[in-house]
Point group: C2
Chain length 260, copies 2
DNA sequence: CGTAGGAGCTGACGCTGCGTCAACCGCAAG
DNA sequence: CTTGCGGTTGACGCAGCGTCAGCTCCTACG
């Protein structure tokens, strides 16, 4: 007693194409091939199909299903491995959701500023990585080419008015840095160290930043940026010039060194 | 001033192959093509690349990125749509994680019973869908061919000893049903209705069951099963025969009708 | 001046799991 | 004889590149 490919397909809730595919990859050969080459499936094949469909439904790939069914792999172990993969995938998506949400929030906060020349104004004038290759090389050496490129990509990918919105957000921080510096505060003193903590937390909030998911940027990253603040006048301007930036750098350096 | 494909690739943290691909799909043509066909990228191209990489990092597909960059699509809207997709994907994975975990738990609870003939004993003798096509058609009409096939696949996919373990778990429930019936309880009375509630909750706990994720099976599903309990003696046996199964059916029917 | 090495180029296949034609065959009813 | 259904075997398509393969051009070196 056996059944045609359509009967099996309808019952199992798949298409005949799927069954032919399973045959082609050796996962489920028909129990016999009748005259004219038509595939016939008996009870044993049906049971095998049902197990295949269960494992597929749980998300296993066809090769993993094949390994389980041919007993080369323990079923429980295959499922545990698969579970690990699923969890990693979910975490990855969670992180991506967070990034998209923050990017959206930044976008919407920046509405109404007009979007003329969004790709040119600041991107080309203020932060074009090709213009300050010395710092790029510095930073690349410290925390990896790839991470630099990604962090940089985030910033420039924002477009001009998003960058401006972002800069407005950080304006308070910068103003506080400048005030502290002009008041002659000690870089390793309480006031500057508190600012350094805020600064690091702010950095960690930038998607794409190394340490973003850990809530804390790595020391090398902070140090690399601190140096760049001083070396690049376009950054230094945010902190009241070279001397102000040097104050920020000293404070940040002390801060990371106090927190191994 | 422009740069070679390798310079751009290294800076951006991608491979030259990726840049050629972006060129091939029209996403990022080089700003000019030098003698010998070598690609050259200028500042504008770099900025465009950075925006591409940001959107890619957020998980958008290349076509969506293209639509955003050519201004045919609002960036915020594209991101919101994408966010919806990400959330659905995460929920799907969450459900799959749940299914795999429950399947694993069932597997591990069934250890030590031996695995001989796991594919034949009960799958072939007790629950082979091809043997009782009348009920299959009934149930298919009520809650859809696909769902039937999937629920059925889960059961038969478990293998014989998992099915036995599962039956042991449900043994209490069955025993209580039989006791209530033999005691002459009223199907719509308090005792039988409490059992019906337990029964529905048990059903909802089966991965692959319709309503599994909602924690409650749909009425049609419960009714379809209830009818099958009576019509199929192999099910009826679990409840003390046809009459006992009819008692269960009446109780379940009343239960679902009391809960729209 | 020949050559080795490095960078770039254009195809083209591979991966995952089938969906979707396309072209053809066999059998039974009208 | 035609129509129609159900079956067959290819083969392309998809997403985003990784990875050869085979060829050209330029430069530095012996």
């Amino acid at each position: 007693m056996d059944w045609s490919i359509q009967e099996v397909a309808r019952h199992a809730g798949v298409t005949s194409r799927t069954l032919r595919h399973y045959d082609a990859v050796g996962l489920l050969p028909p129990s016999r091939v009748a005259a004219g080459g038509t595939r016939r499936y008996d009870r044993t094949a049906i049971v095998r199909l049902q197990r295949i469909l269960l494992l597929r439904e749980l998300g296993l790939g066809l090769d993993a299903v094949g390994r389980v069914l041919t007993e080369q792999t323990d079923e429980a172990r295959a499922l545990r491995d698969h579970l690990d993969g699923l969890r990693r995938e979910r975490d990855r998506i969670d992180r991506q959701i967070g990034s998209v949400r923050r990017t959206l929030a930044a976008l919407e906060a920046g509405l109404g500023t007009g979007n003329d020349d969004r790709e040119t104004i600041m991107a080309a004038d203020m932060l074009d990585g090709f213009d300050h290759t010395e710092h790029r090389e510095e930073v690349e050496q410290r925390w990896g080419r790839e991470a630099y490129a990604r962090g940089d990509a985030w910033w420039r990918g924002l477009g001009a008015e998003q960058q401006q919105a972002f800069l407005r957000e950080v304006g308070d921080l910068n103003a506080d840095w400048q005030a502290a510096w002009r008041d002659g505060a000690d870089p390793v003193g309480e006031r500057a160290q508190a600012l350094a903590g805020r600064h690091a937390a702010w950095l960690a909030g930038i998607p794409g930043t190394p340490g973003h998911t850990e809530g804390r940027p790595p020391a090398e990253y902070v140090l690399g940026l601190a140096e760049m603040y001083v070396a690049d006048e376009r950054f230094a301007a945010n902190y009241g010039g070279r001397d102000g930036a040097a104050f920020v750098r000293d404070a940040l350096t002390a801060w990371v060194e106090a927190r191994p």
